[in-house]
Symmetry: C2
DNA sequence: CTGAAAGCGCTTACAG
DNA sequence: CTGAAAGCGCTTACAG
């Protein structure tokens, strides 16, 4: 019932091989075959079976994309631009949502491999063992986005986390803050660690209080931002400024401040992370550390394409910057 | 170099058929084969080639998901829950982003079909012709989410748009508003049309001004919400309340009000659509028409599973309700 | 430029 | 319960 290439070939009066060559754009075809096959295909409503094709090819015309949380606008932006860029290169995107879980990451990695994707873009987690290590050993083209894993030599597209955080802390120091709190990301992620390290380095650099109690650890979800902020505010000697390490936790922090009636920018300074669209309607406008998820996504695809084409693939580190708006002010 | 089932069979000392049966959980296997094959497979690091498997099966173990805009939080929620539900049923999700374009929708539809997905969940657009019509004719299991197409008989999971809009208009009427503006969605979408129709019916029902100038048409993107609000506000006899037909346009409307220094809830009442997480930080808190994208996504997957299992599949219409918060007040 | 044929890695009747 | 074999729908050397 479903039309296959042999039906097209029969209708066009050519061999299956010739039909295949015409349909896949092989140059060695005559004008007349091309016409007849094309006509037969559209008359019969022929639709290629991508499964069958990719069984003969080293890989399918799909790209695996594994993000940590598709509902996080930062990753939605990465996904959107990666998908667009992949599509332009003729690759369909298989999307996985690791949900900040190493197990689920491994599950998806296996799944993507079993579909013989041409390459995978992943915002990784864990220590580079498990399925990730196995796939790497198999030579599957993988590029990391946003995050990396220590000791795992894979091309990546990341942001210069240090620069943004350093600028943020120094901005706060200039405003007279001495005790700056941070709601850090999970230590299992490179971004969580790098942002925290940069915070510590900048705090030392600027001569601020380096009290370990000023560090709360979250998991990149809103609730943990709220818990972290609450813990910091409940300190006997609470910070006068709080920095959050991603957008969801930033929202959690803001929730707590509102509940407690603390005036952002006046009573307490706040610096958010990831300049997501949803920040746009916050008042006072949020001072943030910003980077470029859309560019991350498209560059990651470019690197996969480089690898597939045998071109040298190199990692890129994108800029990160502080955008000062209204949520930071002089220390109370 | 890559381990295939024949290698596993050889290592286990059984035939390829037996290895296949063990690996795919066929009941007709002996305890001893099961042990030997399982051990051989894990010792060799065998990974199934899903392409090859699905070539022998009626379809792949994948589900196609075609949303209108992955960066729209409403669709991100649908995607998240659909993916989770599909995964639980052993289906990987192939995600497409139609980007509110009928052409791109058709492109993805073709792509998904070429990958022989088990079924497709789509937030549709257009008139039911093109690739959509062809796939339907081929008997591909398709279910619509959020939107439908007139005259196309496909199971769907939608919201009762009429109920929410009616409640919203009536709420405004109760507050004394006579001129209620709407930034409607694109007439190419069922949700765009239904919400507008419900608005018109409710306006008539409540005896409000039915001036056609009170209707601005947007495209479900923020910018069009801003343009629509500006047009409404520039009317010689401007509305005292504005209703927006989706979340992105709601944000656009709010932008314009802020630019113009109009106090939401006092100078002008605003009712938004889709109770997305980003609304949570708006002040004054937004009165909205709410429905349940996560449930939409998982129910849509359930329907696909019903179809695949040969069970009767029926459409479901979810509730939609008005949540009154602070952005609506007495007519000025 | 074209056809005949082998083969991609699996699954599944068919016998036994 | 098991093996041998056919076949899923394509692509691609190999000859010509």
């Amino acid at each position: 019932m479903v039309v296959k290439i042999r039906d097209v070939a029969a209708a066009a009066g050519v061999s299956v091989g010739t039909a295949s060559r015409v349909l896949s754009g092989h140059p060695a075809t005559s004008e007349s075959s091309r016409r007849r096959v094309t006509e037969a295909a559209s008359a019969l409503g022929y639709r290629l079976n991508a499964q069958a094709r990719s069984l003969r090819k080293p890989h399918a015309d799909t790209l695996g994309l594994l993000v940590s949380d598709i509902r996080n606008p930062f990753f939605a932006d990465i996904a959107q631009s990666a998908e667009r860029q992949a599509l332009a290169a003729g690759l369909a995107t298989l999307l996985g949502n690791a949900n900040e879980s190493t197990e689920q990451q491994d599950h998806y990695l296996d799944l993507l491999y079993s579909h013989r994707v041409a390459g995978m873009i992943v915002a990784p987690q864990g220590d580079g063992g498990g399925s990730l290590g196995e796939l790497l050993a198999l030579g599957v083209p993988i590029v990391f986005v946003d995050r990396t894993i220590d000791g795992v030599d894979v091309p990546s597209v990341t942001s210069d986390n240090g620069a943004g955080v350093a600028a943020a802390v120094s901005h706060l120091a200039d405003l007279g803050h001495r005790r700056v709190g941070i709601v850090a990301g999970p230590p299992q992620t490179s971004t969580g660690r790098e942002r925290l390290d940069a915070y510590r380095a900048a705090v030392a650099e600027c001569g601020l209080d380096s009290d370990p109690e000023l560090v709360a650890t979250g998991d990149f979800q809103a609730d943990s931002g709220a818990r972290g902020a609450a813990a910091l505010l409940d300190l006997p000697d609470a910070p006068t400024a709080i920095l959050a390490a991603d957008s969801l936790m930033t929202f959690g922090v803001l929730d707590v401040l509102r509940e407690r009636g603390i005036a952002v920018g006046r009573d307490l300074s706040v610096i958010g992370y990831d300049d997501v669209a949803a920040y746009r309607w916050l008042r006072p406008a949020l001072t943030v550390i910003t980077h470029d998820p859309a560019r991350m996504g498209s560059l990651a695809v470019d690197i996969i394409l480089d690898i597939l084409a045998g071109r040298p693939a190199s990692s890129v580190v994108l800029e990160s910057a502080l955008v000062v708006r209204e949520s930071t002010g002089p220390a109370a």
